[in-house]
């Protein structure tokens, strides 16, 4: 049932978003053989998903063009589920790719953070990014009423896009305070490249109510969503709605880095000035080292690519741009910090684990993520705790640093075909 493919490369890059594209391209341009793996049907990552060459985004078309002209080999729909020293395995719909590498660049990006509130499992409640990509991939929203709730700049982008496609965006509910949001706005205005985008957003959204200090209290409806109840400045409002798109900013995808033993600091992968992790020859770029948007991801990716190619001179030239980007990381963190009241959103019977249907009330009795998981099945489903784990970390302060194989669910036959001579021994040296 599985075809097998065995290949060897100087550099393996995991993740085909801006960071991975930048890293792979420059490493290949320096003469190395490079493979770029991503689990989506196209390159581009979260932000340039499904855009390819035809993008109206100038940066995107530049990089799609450049990676296309380079010698980078990319493998799409390939999920890396196992990484060992000098070797990795990825599964695609009918193949297991066994890849040997000398340098590894992790560019696994970020995902949205979701927090539970009553009704969040109702049909038609979905992630903000999900609404964006569904509209892109064929969901008509003309005339639909949409509430967008949570926190972070992504909410604005989704609102603008939904409006452009004819949706009626009832409101954007932003949990942060007006003051924090304004500070963030100012910091963005100091970055000239983003000015145009910001003005455009502001223009598109001028008719949409944008409420601060506002968060979902409940999603209401019998079979599917009918209305959203919001807390706004301490008042309760109820708004009829066809879709509720929610997301509480982003969390970095660290599983792969943790699995191979990269040191984690303050919730991000620790790297040196050349994006190298604590494991020699393993680099990390983009969102896993700090949520800072695609510009920073691109720069970090290139630094990692140059460093892997031993062109530290070229890497060094990008340091200043990276350091400017890191200021943006801090500004984002401050602006969209989650307020304590969000911990009160779930009720006793609100499900926290959507895979296994585990309610909040069952979890509270436990002392740790491990204990909760073992006794309640929270995080035991196929998402492997990617959704409920991030929520539990916020709600209970539980950390979950233990990552077990496979990194993603895979076919049993793919696990059975793991080449035996590459038993991963990479765990030593990690600080976890």
């Amino acid at each position: 049932m599985n075809a097998e493919s065995k290949r060897s490369f100087d550099v393996a890059v995991i993740g085909g978003g801006p960071a991975g594209m930048g890293a792979a391209t420059v490493a290949a341009e320096c003469g190395l053989s490079v493979v770029l793996l991503d689990d989506n049907p196209g390159l581009g990552g979260q932000i340039w998903r499904g855009e390819s060459g035809s993008s109206k985004h100038t940066q995107a078309s530049h990089w799609f063009d450049r990676v296309g002209r380079s010698s980078v080999e990319w493998i799409l729909e390939a999920r890396v589920f196992q990484v060992g020293k000098g070797h990795l395995s990825a599964e695609s719909p009918d193949t297991v790719h066994q890849i040997a590498y000398s340098h590894l660049i992790l560019a696994t990006g970020a995902r949205e953070r979701f927090l539970p509130f009553p009704g969040w499992t109702l049909p038609n409640v979905l992630g903000a990014g999900a609404l964006h990509s569904l509209i892109k991939s064929g969901l008509p929203v003309e005339g639909k009423r949409i509430v967008i709730a949570g926190t972070g700049p992504l909410l604005l982008a989704v609102a603008a896009y939904a409006r452009e496609k004819g949706a009626q965006v009832a409101c954007i509910a932003e949990q942060t305070t007006g003051a924090k949001f304004a500070c963030f706005g100012l910091s963005v205005l100091l970055v000239p490249e983003e000015l145009e985008e910001v003005w455009q957003l502001a223009w598109q959204l001028q008719a949409v109510p944008h409420w601060k200090n506002c968060w979902p209290v409940a999603a209401l409806g019998k079979e599917r969503l009918e209305a959203v109840r919001l807390s706004h400045h301490g008042r309760i409002r109820e708004i009829a709605s066809d879709y509720l798109a929610c997301g509480f900013h982003l969390v970095p995808s660290l599983e792969l880095a943790q699995f191979i033993g990269c040191a984690i600091q303050d919730g991000y992968v620790a790297v040196d000035e050349n994006q190298q992790t604590c494991i020699p020859g393993v680099y990390c770029a983009g969102e896993p080292t700090g949520i800072g948007g695609f510009e920073l991801a691109l720069v970090e990716g290139q630094i990692a690519g140059f460093a892997a190619a031993n062109r530290k001179d070229l890497a060094r030239k990008l340091w200043r741009r990276r350091d400017a980007g890191l200021r943006h990381v801090r500004a984002l963190r401050r602006a969209f910090e989650l307020r304590d009241e969000l911990r009160n959103m779930p009720q006793e019977d609100t499900l926290v684990c959507r895979c296994e249907d585990v309610p909040f009330g069952l979890l509270r009795a436990h002392q740790s993520w491990q204990s909760a998981k073992l006794h309640s099945r929270c995080g035991m489903g196929p998402c492997q705790g990617r959704v409920c784990g991030a929520a539990a970390e916020f709600l209970f302060g539980w950390s979950n640093s233990s990552v077990r194989p496979p990194l993603f669910p895979v076919r049993c036959s793919s696990l059975a075909e793991m080449p035996v001579e590459t038993i991963p021994e990479i765990h030593e040296g990690g600080s976890k």
């Binding site: 499904g50 995902r111 990509s133 569904l134 079979e223 959507r354 895979c355 196929p382 990617r386 959704v387």
Partner: protein, 82 residues
């Protein structure tokens, strides 16, 4: 629609644009993709292959993540139980 595809979702034909994911077709049909262990109907959630909420049965194969699969003409999509 010239550039459209017809798929069969939970017992009815739905027309979606070419390039639409199965997850989009589930919403267009007003259907559910799966019922959860306690029997709740669910629709796709994260849209990026992470949450597994969009698992559905495609041409008889269970547990396919519909947000990662593109529609093909004549596909049969039925709710998953998991």
């Amino acid at each position: 629609m010239p550039d459209s595809i017809v798929v069969w979702v939970a017992g009815k034909n739905v027309e979606v644009p070419k390039g639409a994911t199965v997850a989009a077709a589930v919403f267009v049909a007003g259907a559910f993709c799966r019922t959860s262990p306690s029997g709740q109907p669910r629709t796709p959630f994260c849209g990026m292959g992470i949450c597994f909420e969009c698992r559905t049965v495609i041409n008889g194969e269970p547990h396919r993540r519909s947000c990662q699969v593109l529609c093909e003409p004549g596909m049969v999509i039925t709710p998953d139980e998991c």
